[in-house]
Symmetry: C2
DNA sequence: CGATAATACTTGACATATCAACTAATGTGC
DNA sequence: GCACATTAGTTGATATGTCAAGTATTATCG
């Protein structure tokens, strides 16, 4: 008789009942783990007056370079989807981290660009953000880190 | 020269630049994957008039049995933390899925219990929710499923 | 060319999330 | 038993998320 140890997540959530399946256990564990990491990540950027989503927008716009990106293109590239992209960019514009310009050739389009101030803010955040990721994953071997990413990719491919 | 293939997440987010580190790639992949799964999960429960968080509260209260749980105890057991537990339970009470009662012995405490209607709702959701988890993880081998959970547990332990 | 459709946002309404005060009740030390 | 801290929860202010509907502009088809 092999007594399997109870999943750690059960104790963490003070649950006694086992999960209906391994799949459910994995999903709950995934949610929980991501929540923990996200909160820690928000704590990194929040003192600088922006949310994690706003940080993501800034990074996307930095990557886009001079020309910038159309509003809805930003939305498509967000790690975590946000239907309220207009107001997300509104907030960044109010903070002067992003600027917008109506396109002349196609007046439906609005081009968004990161400002100097936005780039400066990102520059100060690069190291802390990378450090946070390293800290989060520090206990994993290189093999496990690759394995984790590969498994997550498999999950997304299957759900497409 | 081994040409490594670009990480799938890069194409998905239309990014050209590689990540600063494997750790950052893993974190972004984790966020993205969880976002995809969460949205699909919300689509399962939303038609029944509740959010994923509210569903989580109901499951916690079902697990707690007759006596119910004190308000803040629910908050501690949530998979994804919610500081606004009062209003979360408010919403469920308004829908008659949960009932509350001020404790007589310690009048600071409020006991929360799931109602018959709450149990009935959960009963109809059990199968679809389990199905969603199975569907999400269907492409993973049993070994990979265990590996995923184990790696995620390691991450949380390290960040404690 | 003119009607219709499609695109690219924007806005309004409402649900949630977050944080910091605040209230009420209980526990603790002197 | 009284001041003070602690606990349990609530409330207010503000930000963010979400969906549906609306506006302006461009594309398409007969």
């Amino acid at each position: 008789m092999s007594e399997r140890p109870a999943p750690p997540i059960l104790g963490e959530l003070r649950q006694k009942r086992p999960f209906a399946s391994k799949a459910e256990e994995a999903v709950v564990t995934l949610f929980r783990t991501t929540d923990v990491i996200r909160r820690a990540g928000e704590a990194v950027v929040a003192p600088h007056g922006i949310s994690a989503q706003q940080y993501n927008v800034l990074r996307i716009l930095r990557g886009a370079g001079r020309k910038g990106l159309q509003t809805l293109e930003i939305a498509e590239r967000l790690v975590e989807r946000a239907p309220g992209i207009t107001r997300l960019v509104d907030a960044l514009e109010k903070k002067k981290l992003v600027e917008r310009e109506r396109c002349v050739e196609d007046r439906r389009v609005v081009w968004c660009r990161i400002t100097k101030a936005g780039l400066a803010l990102l520059a100060t955040l690069d190291a802390p953000v990378t450090a946070h990721a390293e800290r989060t994953m520090r206990k994993l071997s290189a093999a496990d880190l690759n394995k984790l990413t590969a498994i997550l990719d498999d999950i997304r491919i299957a759900s497409a």
